[in-house]
Protein backbone atom coordinates (compact mmCIF):
# COMPACT_ATOMS: atom_id res chain seq x y z
CA UNK A 1 0.00 0.00 0.00
CA UNK A 2 2.81 2.37 0.87
CA UNK A 3 4.55 3.76 -2.18
CA UNK A 4 7.91 4.21 -0.45
CA UNK A 5 10.53 1.63 0.44
CA UNK A 6 11.65 3.55 3.49
CA UNK A 7 9.03 4.88 5.86
CA UNK A 8 9.70 6.73 9.08
CA UNK A 9 7.43 8.75 11.32
CA UNK A 10 8.18 11.92 13.27
CA UNK A 11 7.71 9.90 16.47
CA UNK A 12 10.31 7.34 15.38
CA UNK A 13 12.81 10.03 14.45
CA UNK A 14 12.21 11.89 17.72
CA UNK A 15 12.70 8.63 19.63
CA UNK A 16 16.04 8.21 17.89
CA UNK A 17 16.97 11.81 18.76
CA UNK A 18 16.06 11.14 22.39
CA UNK A 19 18.15 7.97 22.40
CA UNK A 20 21.05 9.89 20.88
CA UNK A 21 20.96 7.62 17.84
CA UNK A 22 19.59 9.95 15.19
CA UNK A 23 21.73 10.47 12.12
CA UNK A 24 21.71 14.19 11.38
CA UNK A 25 23.52 15.80 8.45
CA UNK A 26 23.49 19.25 6.87
CA UNK A 27 21.94 19.84 3.47
CA UNK A 28 25.41 20.18 1.95
CA UNK A 29 26.44 16.81 3.39
CA UNK A 30 23.17 15.23 2.25
CA UNK A 31 23.84 16.31 -1.33
CA UNK A 32 27.01 14.23 -1.31
CA UNK A 33 25.42 11.28 0.51
CA UNK A 34 22.52 11.02 -1.95
CA UNK A 35 24.87 11.33 -4.91
CA UNK A 36 27.09 8.58 -3.49
CA UNK A 37 24.53 6.16 -2.07
CA UNK A 38 21.30 6.90 -3.86
CA UNK A 39 18.01 8.05 -2.38
CA UNK A 40 16.87 4.80 -0.77
CA UNK A 41 20.12 4.06 1.04
CA UNK A 42 20.39 7.70 2.08
CA UNK A 43 16.83 7.62 3.43
CA UNK A 44 17.56 4.44 5.35
CA UNK A 45 20.65 5.95 6.97
CA UNK A 46 19.85 9.63 7.52
CA UNK A 47 17.06 10.79 9.84
CA UNK A 48 17.25 14.56 9.67
CA UNK A 49 18.74 17.08 7.24
CA UNK A 50 19.43 20.55 8.61
CA UNK A 51 19.24 23.67 6.47
CA UNK A 52 20.01 27.32 6.99
CA UNK A 53 19.83 30.79 5.51
CA UNK A 54 21.05 34.20 6.64
CA UNK A 55 20.15 37.26 4.60
CA UNK A 56 18.09 40.44 4.67
CA UNK A 57 14.42 39.55 5.06
CA UNK A 58 12.43 42.75 4.88
CA UNK A 59 9.07 41.53 6.06
CA UNK A 60 10.21 41.12 9.64
CA UNK A 61 9.41 42.85 12.89
CA UNK A 62 8.59 42.53 16.54
CA UNK A 63 5.44 42.75 18.63
CA UNK A 64 6.22 44.18 22.02
CA UNK A 65 4.47 45.10 25.22
CA UNK A 66 6.25 47.73 27.27
CA UNK A 67 4.20 47.53 30.47
CA UNK A 68 1.91 50.07 32.07
CA UNK A 69 2.80 53.43 33.58
CA UNK A 70 1.32 55.21 36.59
CA UNK A 71 -1.04 56.79 35.74
CA UNK A 72 -1.96 54.45 32.92
CA UNK A 73 -1.50 55.17 29.24
CA UNK A 74 -3.13 54.06 26.00
CA UNK A 75 -0.28 54.75 23.63
CA UNK A 76 -1.43 56.20 20.33
CA UNK A 77 2.00 56.72 18.85
CA UNK A 78 5.15 54.84 19.85
CA UNK A 79 8.83 55.21 18.94
CA UNK A 80 11.88 53.13 19.79
CA UNK A 81 15.07 55.13 19.24
CA UNK A 82 12.96 57.49 17.13
CA UNK A 83 11.80 54.63 14.89
CA UNK A 84 8.03 54.77 14.61
CA UNK A 85 6.19 51.66 15.74
CA UNK A 86 2.62 50.71 14.97
CA UNK A 87 0.54 51.38 18.07
CA UNK A 88 -2.97 50.69 16.83
CA UNK A 89 -3.23 47.78 19.24
CA UNK A 90 -4.17 47.59 22.91
CA UNK A 91 -2.84 50.16 25.39
CA UNK A 92 0.85 49.28 25.61
CA UNK A 93 1.24 46.87 22.69
CA UNK A 94 3.03 47.87 19.52
CA UNK A 95 4.77 46.43 16.48
CA UNK A 96 8.04 47.65 15.09
CA UNK A 97 8.78 46.79 11.47
CA UNK A 98 12.28 46.07 10.20
CA UNK A 99 12.15 48.52 7.29
CA UNK A 100 10.79 51.50 9.24
CA UNK A 101 13.47 54.20 9.04
CA UNK A 102 14.55 56.45 11.89
CA UNK A 103 12.34 59.57 12.11
CA UNK A 104 15.02 62.08 11.11
CA UNK A 105 16.63 60.02 8.33
CA UNK A 106 17.03 62.12 5.17
CA UNK A 107 16.16 58.99 3.15
CA UNK A 108 16.75 59.52 -0.56
CA UNK A 109 16.72 63.33 -0.35
CA UNK A 110 20.45 62.99 -0.73
CA UNK A 111 20.53 60.13 -3.23
CA UNK A 112 21.43 57.39 -2.63
CA UNK A 113 20.46 57.53 1.02
CA UNK A 114 22.51 55.47 3.42
CA UNK A 115 19.58 54.64 5.73
CA UNK A 116 21.81 53.98 8.70
CA UNK A 117 19.22 53.14 11.33
CA UNK A 118 15.77 51.60 11.33
CA UNK A 119 13.48 49.04 12.90
CA UNK A 120 15.85 46.16 12.18
CA UNK A 121 18.63 47.98 14.02
CA UNK A 122 16.33 48.56 17.03
CA UNK A 123 15.62 44.82 17.20
CA UNK A 124 19.34 44.06 16.94
CA UNK A 125 20.16 46.63 19.66
CA UNK A 126 17.57 45.10 22.00
CA UNK A 127 18.90 41.61 21.31
CA UNK A 128 22.44 42.82 22.03
CA UNK A 129 21.31 44.10 25.44
CA UNK A 130 21.59 47.78 24.52
CA UNK A 131 19.39 50.49 25.99
CA UNK A 132 16.73 51.81 23.63
CA UNK A 133 14.79 55.05 24.11
CA UNK A 134 11.04 54.48 24.26
CA UNK A 135 8.63 57.33 23.65
CA UNK A 136 4.85 57.03 23.60
CA UNK A 137 2.21 59.71 23.25
CA UNK A 138 -1.47 59.38 23.98
CA UNK A 139 -4.67 61.45 23.85
CA UNK A 140 -5.82 60.44 27.32
CA UNK A 141 -8.99 58.69 28.41
CA UNK A 142 -10.72 58.23 31.74
CA UNK A 143 -9.14 54.83 32.14
CA UNK A 144 -5.80 55.79 30.56
CA UNK A 145 -5.17 59.44 31.51
CA UNK A 146 -1.40 59.60 30.81
CA UNK A 147 -0.35 61.59 27.72
CA UNK A 148 3.35 60.95 27.55
CA UNK A 149 5.86 58.24 28.36
CA UNK A 150 9.60 58.61 27.85
CA UNK A 151 12.15 56.18 29.23
CA UNK A 152 15.13 54.03 28.41
CA UNK A 153 14.39 50.35 28.18
CA UNK A 154 16.25 47.12 27.53
CA UNK A 155 14.93 43.81 26.28
CA UNK A 156 14.58 42.67 29.90
CA UNK A 157 12.20 45.56 30.61
CA UNK A 158 9.76 44.51 27.92
CA UNK A 159 7.09 42.22 29.30
CA UNK A 160 6.86 40.61 25.88
CA UNK A 161 9.05 40.75 22.78
CA UNK A 162 7.86 38.51 19.99
CA UNK A 163 9.75 38.41 16.74
CA UNK A 164 6.99 38.01 14.18
CA UNK A 165 8.03 37.97 10.56
CA UNK A 166 5.15 37.83 8.10
CA UNK A 167 7.38 36.85 5.16
CA UNK A 168 10.75 35.17 5.56
CA UNK A 169 12.75 32.43 3.99
CA UNK A 170 11.85 33.04 0.35
CA UNK A 171 11.96 29.87 -1.66
CA UNK A 172 14.31 30.99 -4.41
CA UNK A 173 14.86 34.57 -5.54
CA UNK A 174 15.65 36.52 -8.69
CA UNK A 175 19.11 37.21 -9.99
CA UNK A 176 19.14 40.99 -10.51
CA UNK A 177 20.83 42.85 -13.33
CA UNK A 178 20.55 46.46 -14.49
CA UNK A 179 20.24 47.16 -18.21
CA UNK A 180 19.97 50.94 -17.85
CA UNK A 181 22.79 53.43 -18.34
CA UNK A 182 23.21 54.33 -14.69
CA UNK A 183 24.01 52.46 -11.51
CA UNK A 184 20.88 51.56 -9.58
CA UNK A 185 20.43 51.05 -5.85
CA UNK A 186 17.83 48.41 -5.08
CA UNK A 187 16.83 46.02 -2.32
CA UNK A 188 18.97 43.60 -4.32
CA UNK A 189 21.94 45.86 -3.64
CA UNK A 190 23.86 48.21 -5.88
CA UNK A 191 23.88 46.99 -9.48
CA UNK A 192 26.20 48.31 -12.16
CA UNK A 193 24.76 49.72 -15.38
CA UNK A 194 24.58 48.05 -18.77
CA UNK A 195 24.36 44.58 -17.33
CA UNK A 196 27.89 44.63 -15.92
CA UNK A 197 27.05 43.01 -12.59
CA UNK A 198 24.51 40.55 -11.24
CA UNK A 199 23.34 40.14 -7.64
CA UNK A 200 21.54 37.13 -6.23
CA UNK A 201 20.19 36.19 -2.82
CA UNK A 202 19.73 32.58 -1.78
CA UNK A 203 21.65 30.01 0.21
CA UNK A 204 21.05 27.60 -2.70
CA UNK A 205 21.42 23.96 -1.65
CA UNK A 206 21.44 25.00 2.04
CA UNK A 207 18.23 27.01 1.75
CA UNK A 208 15.34 25.53 3.79
CA UNK A 209 12.49 25.65 1.28
CA UNK A 210 14.67 24.47 -1.61
CA UNK A 211 15.21 21.25 0.37
CA UNK A 212 11.49 20.66 0.84
CA UNK A 213 10.22 22.19 -2.37
CA UNK A 214 6.63 20.99 -2.09
CA UNK A 215 6.28 21.68 1.65
CA UNK A 216 5.83 18.03 2.58
CA UNK A 217 7.32 18.49 6.06
CA UNK A 218 7.38 22.24 6.64
CA UNK A 219 4.07 23.63 7.83
CA UNK A 220 2.23 25.27 10.68
CA UNK A 221 3.98 24.43 13.91
CA UNK A 222 7.33 23.36 12.45
CA UNK A 223 9.99 24.07 15.06
CA UNK A 224 12.93 26.00 13.62
CA UNK A 225 16.18 27.82 14.36
CA UNK A 226 15.27 31.50 14.44
CA UNK A 227 17.70 34.24 15.36
CA UNK A 228 19.91 31.86 17.29
CA UNK A 229 16.99 30.57 19.35
CA UNK A 230 13.88 28.53 18.78
CA UNK A 231 11.03 29.70 16.61
CA UNK A 232 8.07 28.27 14.79
CA UNK A 233 6.49 28.43 11.38
CA UNK A 234 3.08 29.90 12.09
CA UNK A 235 1.57 30.30 8.63
CA UNK A 236 2.58 30.50 5.01
CA UNK A 237 4.26 33.86 4.48
CA UNK A 238 2.63 36.71 2.63
CA UNK A 239 3.03 36.42 -1.15
CA UNK A 240 3.37 32.62 -0.75
CA UNK A 241 3.09 31.58 -4.37
CA UNK A 242 3.57 27.87 -4.80
CA UNK A 243 1.94 27.63 -8.22
CA UNK A 244 4.75 28.92 -10.43
CA UNK A 245 6.95 26.95 -12.81
CA UNK A 246 9.01 24.19 -11.25
CA UNK A 247 11.86 21.98 -12.33
CA UNK A 248 11.44 18.19 -12.50
CA UNK A 249 12.96 17.91 -9.03
CA UNK A 250 10.07 19.99 -7.68
CA UNK A 251 12.09 23.12 -6.96
CA UNK A 252 10.62 26.40 -8.18
CA UNK A 253 12.34 28.33 -10.98
CA UNK A 254 11.12 31.69 -9.66
CA UNK A 255 10.46 33.13 -6.18
CA UNK A 256 7.72 30.86 -4.80
CA UNK A 257 6.90 29.78 -1.25
CA UNK A 258 7.44 31.91 1.84
CA UNK A 259 7.07 31.41 5.58
CA UNK A 260 5.64 33.40 8.42
CA UNK A 261 7.75 32.70 11.49
CA UNK A 262 7.62 33.69 15.14
CA UNK A 263 9.78 33.33 18.18
CA UNK A 264 10.45 34.87 21.59
CA UNK A 265 13.23 37.44 21.07
CA UNK A 266 14.33 37.01 24.68
CA UNK A 267 15.75 33.55 24.01
CA UNK A 268 17.52 34.51 20.78
CA UNK A 269 21.26 35.10 20.47
CA UNK A 270 23.18 38.24 19.44
CA UNK A 271 24.68 37.96 16.00
CA UNK A 272 21.80 36.04 14.45
CA UNK A 273 19.63 39.09 13.81
CA UNK A 274 21.37 42.05 12.23
CA UNK A 275 19.93 45.41 11.29
CA UNK A 276 20.99 46.17 7.75
CA UNK A 277 21.19 49.33 5.65
CA UNK A 278 20.76 48.93 1.93
CA UNK A 279 22.07 52.00 0.13
CA UNK A 280 19.36 53.94 -1.68
CA UNK A 281 16.68 51.47 -0.61
CA UNK A 282 16.33 51.53 3.14
CA UNK A 283 16.67 49.50 6.30
CA UNK A 284 15.95 45.87 6.90
CA UNK A 285 16.79 42.95 9.14
CA UNK A 286 19.10 40.07 8.27
CA UNK A 287 17.58 36.98 9.83
CA UNK A 288 19.29 33.71 10.63
CA UNK A 289 16.84 30.91 10.04
CA UNK A 290 17.25 27.14 9.81
CA UNK A 291 14.80 24.30 9.41
CA UNK A 292 15.33 20.61 10.15
CA UNK A 293 13.83 18.36 7.52
CA UNK A 294 12.92 14.83 8.53
CA UNK A 295 13.92 12.20 5.99
CA UNK A 296 10.63 10.33 6.21
CA UNK A 297 11.23 8.38 3.02
CA UNK A 298 13.38 8.24 -0.10
CA UNK A 299 11.33 11.01 -1.67
CA UNK A 300 12.49 13.41 1.08
CA UNK A 301 16.03 12.09 0.67
CA UNK A 302 15.79 13.05 -2.98
CA UNK A 303 14.53 16.53 -2.17
CA UNK A 304 17.17 17.18 0.48
CA UNK A 305 19.88 15.79 -1.78
CA UNK A 306 19.46 18.59 -4.27
CA UNK A 307 22.63 20.42 -5.31
CA UNK A 308 23.35 23.96 -6.49
CA UNK A 309 23.69 22.69 -10.05
CA UNK A 310 20.06 21.50 -9.94
CA UNK A 311 18.60 24.74 -8.57
CA UNK A 312 17.73 27.49 -11.01
CA UNK A 313 16.55 31.08 -11.01
CA UNK A 314 15.77 33.77 -13.55
CA UNK A 315 17.85 36.81 -14.51
CA UNK A 316 15.64 39.88 -14.13
CA UNK A 317 16.27 43.50 -15.09
CA UNK A 318 15.74 45.71 -12.05
CA UNK A 319 16.14 49.04 -13.86
CA UNK A 320 12.94 48.84 -15.88
CA UNK A 321 11.29 45.44 -16.00
CA UNK A 322 10.97 44.84 -12.26
CA UNK A 323 9.48 48.22 -11.37
CA UNK A 324 7.15 48.17 -14.36
CA UNK A 325 6.10 44.61 -13.61
CA UNK A 326 7.18 43.35 -17.00
CA UNK A 327 7.41 39.58 -16.97
CA UNK A 328 10.60 38.96 -18.87
CA UNK A 329 13.88 37.29 -18.10
CA UNK A 330 17.37 37.36 -19.54
CA UNK A 331 18.05 33.72 -19.05
CA UNK A 332 17.95 31.00 -16.43
CA UNK A 333 20.99 30.25 -14.30
CA UNK A 334 21.85 27.62 -11.71
CA UNK A 335 23.11 28.42 -8.24
CA UNK A 336 26.30 26.56 -9.12
CA UNK A 337 26.88 29.11 -11.89
CA UNK A 338 25.91 32.05 -9.64
CA UNK A 339 28.24 30.85 -6.88
CA UNK A 340 31.08 30.40 -9.37
CA UNK A 341 31.33 34.20 -9.52
CA UNK A 342 30.39 34.68 -13.13
CA UNK A 343 27.34 34.01 -15.32
CA UNK A 344 26.65 34.45 -18.98
CA UNK A 345 24.05 37.05 -19.91
CA UNK A 346 23.36 37.80 -23.57
CA UNK A 347 26.58 36.09 -24.56
CA UNK A 348 28.70 38.10 -22.15
CA UNK A 349 30.37 37.07 -18.89
CA UNK A 350 28.97 39.03 -15.95
CA UNK A 351 30.45 38.92 -12.42
CA UNK A 352 28.02 37.93 -9.67
CA UNK A 353 27.78 39.03 -6.05
CA UNK A 354 25.73 37.30 -3.35
CA UNK A 355 23.62 39.06 -0.71
CA UNK A 356 22.93 35.92 1.30
CA UNK A 357 25.68 34.58 3.56
CA UNK A 358 26.53 30.98 2.76
CA UNK A 359 29.06 30.94 5.61
CA UNK A 360 26.36 31.85 8.13
CA UNK A 361 23.81 29.54 6.49
CA UNK A 362 26.26 26.66 6.93
CA UNK A 363 26.88 27.68 10.55
CA UNK A 364 23.12 27.62 11.20
CA UNK A 365 22.76 24.16 9.62
CA UNK A 366 25.71 22.94 11.73
CA UNK A 367 24.27 24.49 14.91
CA UNK A 368 20.88 22.92 14.35
CA UNK A 369 22.57 19.59 13.68
CA UNK A 370 24.45 19.89 16.96
CA UNK A 371 21.27 20.76 18.90
CA UNK A 372 19.47 17.74 17.48
CA UNK A 373 22.38 15.38 18.04
CA UNK A 374 22.66 16.53 21.65
CA UNK A 375 18.95 15.86 22.11
CA UNK A 376 18.14 19.50 22.78
CA UNK A 377 15.92 19.96 19.78
CA UNK A 378 13.07 17.74 18.61
CA UNK A 379 11.12 17.78 15.40
CA UNK A 380 7.57 19.04 15.47
CA UNK A 381 5.15 17.53 13.00
CA UNK A 382 3.14 20.33 11.38
CA UNK A 383 -0.49 20.61 12.44
CA UNK A 384 -1.29 21.67 8.90
CA UNK A 385 0.79 21.73 5.74
CA UNK A 386 1.20 24.81 3.56
CA UNK A 387 -0.65 25.25 0.28
CA UNK A 388 1.55 23.55 -2.32
CA UNK A 389 -0.20 24.79 -5.46
CA UNK A 390 -0.42 21.25 -6.84
CA UNK A 391 -3.67 19.92 -8.25
Amino acid sequence: MNKHKINKTYAEINARIKAGEAVVVTAEEMTKIVRREGRVKAAARVDVVTTGTFSPMCSSGMFFNFGQTTPTIKAAEVWLNNVSSYAGLAAVDAYIGATEPCGDDPLNKVYPGSCRYGGGHVIEDLLNGKKVFLKATAYGTDCYPNHLLEKEITLDDLSSALLCNPRNCYQNYNCAINLSDKTIHTYMGTIKSQGRSANYCSAGELSPLLNDPLYKTIGLGTRIFLGGGIGYVTWQGTQHNPGGARAKNGTPLTPAGTLMVQGDLKQMEPGWLKGVSIQGYGCSLAVGLGIPIPVLNEEMAGYTGVSDAELFTQIIDYAYDYSNRISRNYGEVSYAELKSGSIEVNGRQVPTAPLSSVVKAREIAETLKEWIMKGDFFLQEPVQLLPDGQE
Binding site: S55, N199, K274, Q279, A286, A353, L355, S357, V358, V359
Partner: protein, 162 residues
Protein backbone atom coordinates in the same frame (compact mmCIF):
# COMPACT_ATOMS: atom_id res chain seq x y z
CA UNK B 1 60.27 43.21 -7.39
CA UNK B 2 58.46 44.67 -4.41
CA UNK B 3 55.03 46.26 -4.74
CA UNK B 4 52.81 47.77 -2.07
CA UNK B 5 50.09 50.33 -1.48
CA UNK B 6 50.85 53.24 0.83
CA UNK B 7 48.96 56.13 2.29
CA UNK B 8 51.06 59.28 2.50
CA UNK B 9 50.05 62.19 4.69
CA UNK B 10 51.56 65.53 3.75
CA UNK B 11 51.60 68.67 5.81
CA UNK B 12 51.24 72.30 4.72
CA UNK B 13 55.00 72.57 5.00
CA UNK B 14 56.03 69.70 2.73
CA UNK B 15 53.15 69.62 0.29
CA UNK B 16 54.88 71.84 -2.27
CA UNK B 17 57.94 69.58 -2.51
CA UNK B 18 58.31 67.39 -5.63
CA UNK B 19 58.84 64.34 -3.44
CA UNK B 20 57.13 61.75 -5.65
CA UNK B 21 59.24 62.93 -8.57
CA UNK B 22 62.31 62.35 -6.40
CA UNK B 23 61.23 58.78 -5.74
CA UNK B 24 61.68 58.16 -9.45
CA UNK B 25 64.85 60.17 -9.96
CA UNK B 26 66.73 59.26 -6.81
CA UNK B 27 65.45 55.72 -6.11
CA UNK B 28 64.37 54.42 -9.51
CA UNK B 29 60.89 53.53 -8.23
CA UNK B 30 57.71 53.08 -10.23
CA UNK B 31 54.63 54.73 -8.78
CA UNK B 32 50.96 54.73 -9.47
CA UNK B 33 48.91 57.48 -7.83
CA UNK B 34 45.48 56.10 -7.02
CA UNK B 35 44.18 59.08 -5.14
CA UNK B 36 45.52 62.46 -4.24
CA UNK B 37 43.93 65.23 -2.20
CA UNK B 38 46.72 67.76 -2.59
CA UNK B 39 46.17 71.48 -2.29
CA UNK B 40 48.74 74.16 -1.57
CA UNK B 41 48.81 75.44 2.02
CA UNK B 42 46.74 72.49 3.24
CA UNK B 43 47.44 69.08 4.71
CA UNK B 44 47.09 66.44 2.03
CA UNK B 45 46.62 62.73 1.52
CA UNK B 46 47.87 60.51 -1.28
CA UNK B 47 47.32 56.83 -1.99
CA UNK B 48 50.26 55.50 -3.89
CA UNK B 49 51.36 52.14 -5.20
CA UNK B 50 55.12 51.83 -5.14
CA UNK B 51 57.13 49.19 -6.91
CA UNK B 52 60.79 48.49 -7.39
CA UNK B 53 63.58 46.59 -5.65
CA UNK B 54 62.74 46.28 -1.96
CA UNK B 55 65.88 48.12 -0.92
CA UNK B 56 64.92 51.08 -3.10
CA UNK B 57 61.36 51.18 -1.73
CA UNK B 58 62.75 51.23 1.80
CA UNK B 59 65.17 53.98 0.95
CA UNK B 60 62.46 55.96 -0.83
CA UNK B 61 60.15 55.75 2.15
CA UNK B 62 62.98 56.82 4.43
CA UNK B 63 63.50 59.81 2.16
CA UNK B 64 59.79 60.73 2.46
CA UNK B 65 59.98 60.49 6.22
CA UNK B 66 62.94 62.85 6.23
CA UNK B 67 60.53 65.44 4.82
CA UNK B 68 58.02 64.52 7.54
CA UNK B 69 55.63 62.76 5.23
CA UNK B 70 53.77 60.23 7.32
CA UNK B 71 53.74 56.83 5.65
CA UNK B 72 51.20 54.15 6.44
CA UNK B 73 50.36 50.96 4.63
CA UNK B 74 46.78 50.73 3.41
CA UNK B 75 46.29 47.76 5.71
CA UNK B 76 46.53 50.09 8.71
CA UNK B 77 43.92 52.57 7.46
CA UNK B 78 41.32 50.20 5.96
CA UNK B 79 39.64 47.90 8.42
CA UNK B 80 36.88 45.37 8.34
CA UNK B 81 34.92 44.91 11.55
CA UNK B 82 34.69 41.13 11.60
CA UNK B 83 32.11 41.22 14.39
CA UNK B 84 29.73 43.17 12.17
CA UNK B 85 30.54 41.47 8.87
CA UNK B 86 28.30 38.48 8.21
CA UNK B 87 30.08 37.56 5.00
CA UNK B 88 27.20 38.16 2.63
CA UNK B 89 29.47 39.19 -0.23
CA UNK B 90 27.65 42.33 -1.44
CA UNK B 91 30.97 44.22 -1.32
CA UNK B 92 32.62 41.81 -3.75
CA UNK B 93 30.38 43.16 -6.48
CA UNK B 94 31.83 46.66 -6.02
CA UNK B 95 35.47 45.96 -5.29
CA UNK B 96 37.44 46.14 -8.50
CA UNK B 97 40.90 45.30 -7.11
CA UNK B 98 40.08 41.92 -5.59
CA UNK B 99 40.77 43.14 -2.05
CA UNK B 100 37.30 41.88 -1.17
CA UNK B 101 36.75 38.50 -2.74
CA UNK B 102 35.00 35.20 -2.26
CA UNK B 103 36.92 32.08 -1.40
CA UNK B 104 35.35 29.12 -3.13
CA UNK B 105 33.88 26.63 -2.53
CA UNK B 106 33.40 27.81 1.08
CA UNK B 107 31.90 31.12 -0.12
CA UNK B 108 33.80 32.91 2.64
CA UNK B 109 34.22 36.65 2.08
CA UNK B 110 37.91 37.47 2.33
CA UNK B 111 39.38 40.93 2.88
CA UNK B 112 42.99 41.39 1.77
CA UNK B 113 44.02 44.95 2.72
CA UNK B 114 47.22 44.57 0.68
CA UNK B 115 45.14 44.74 -2.50
CA UNK B 116 42.99 47.65 -1.33
CA UNK B 117 43.40 50.99 -3.09
CA UNK B 118 41.17 52.87 -0.67
CA UNK B 119 38.55 53.79 -3.27
CA UNK B 120 35.87 53.43 -0.60
CA UNK B 121 33.17 51.92 -2.82
CA UNK B 122 32.69 49.05 -0.36
CA UNK B 123 31.82 51.36 2.53
CA UNK B 124 28.30 52.41 1.46
CA UNK B 125 27.35 49.03 -0.04
CA UNK B 126 28.13 47.10 3.13
CA UNK B 127 24.72 46.47 4.72
CA UNK B 128 26.16 46.33 8.23
CA UNK B 129 28.72 49.13 7.90
CA UNK B 130 31.61 46.79 8.56
CA UNK B 131 34.14 48.58 6.33
CA UNK B 132 36.02 51.53 7.79
CA UNK B 133 38.46 53.85 6.07
CA UNK B 134 40.28 56.59 7.91
CA UNK B 135 41.97 58.72 5.30
CA UNK B 136 41.03 62.12 6.63
CA UNK B 137 43.23 62.41 9.71
CA UNK B 138 46.13 64.65 8.92
CA UNK B 139 49.60 64.56 10.41
CA UNK B 140 48.76 67.76 12.25
CA UNK B 141 46.03 65.97 14.19
CA UNK B 142 48.54 63.34 15.16
CA UNK B 143 50.86 66.03 16.47
CA UNK B 144 48.03 67.22 18.67
CA UNK B 145 47.54 63.71 19.96
CA UNK B 146 51.17 63.55 20.92
CA UNK B 147 50.84 66.89 22.67
CA UNK B 148 47.97 65.61 24.78
CA UNK B 149 49.80 62.35 25.47
CA UNK B 150 47.25 60.31 23.60
CA UNK B 151 48.42 57.18 21.88
CA UNK B 152 49.35 57.88 18.28
CA UNK B 153 47.90 55.90 15.44
CA UNK B 154 49.75 52.79 14.43
CA UNK B 155 52.36 53.79 11.92
CA UNK B 156 54.50 51.62 9.77
CA UNK B 157 58.20 52.12 10.32
CA UNK B 158 60.72 51.62 7.61
CA UNK B 159 62.15 48.56 9.29
CA UNK B 160 58.72 46.89 9.30
CA UNK B 161 58.54 46.85 5.55
CA UNK B 162 59.43 43.43 4.35
Amino acid sequence: MYKKMYLLRFTKDNIDQPLICDLVKKYNLDFNILRADIFMQQDGVMILELSGPRKNVQAGLKYLKKYEVKVETMATVIKRDDEKCFQCGACTGRCSTGALSIKRPEMAVIFDPEKCTGCGLCVPVCPVQAMHISLDKSVRLDYQRIKYNEPAKEEVTVTEIN
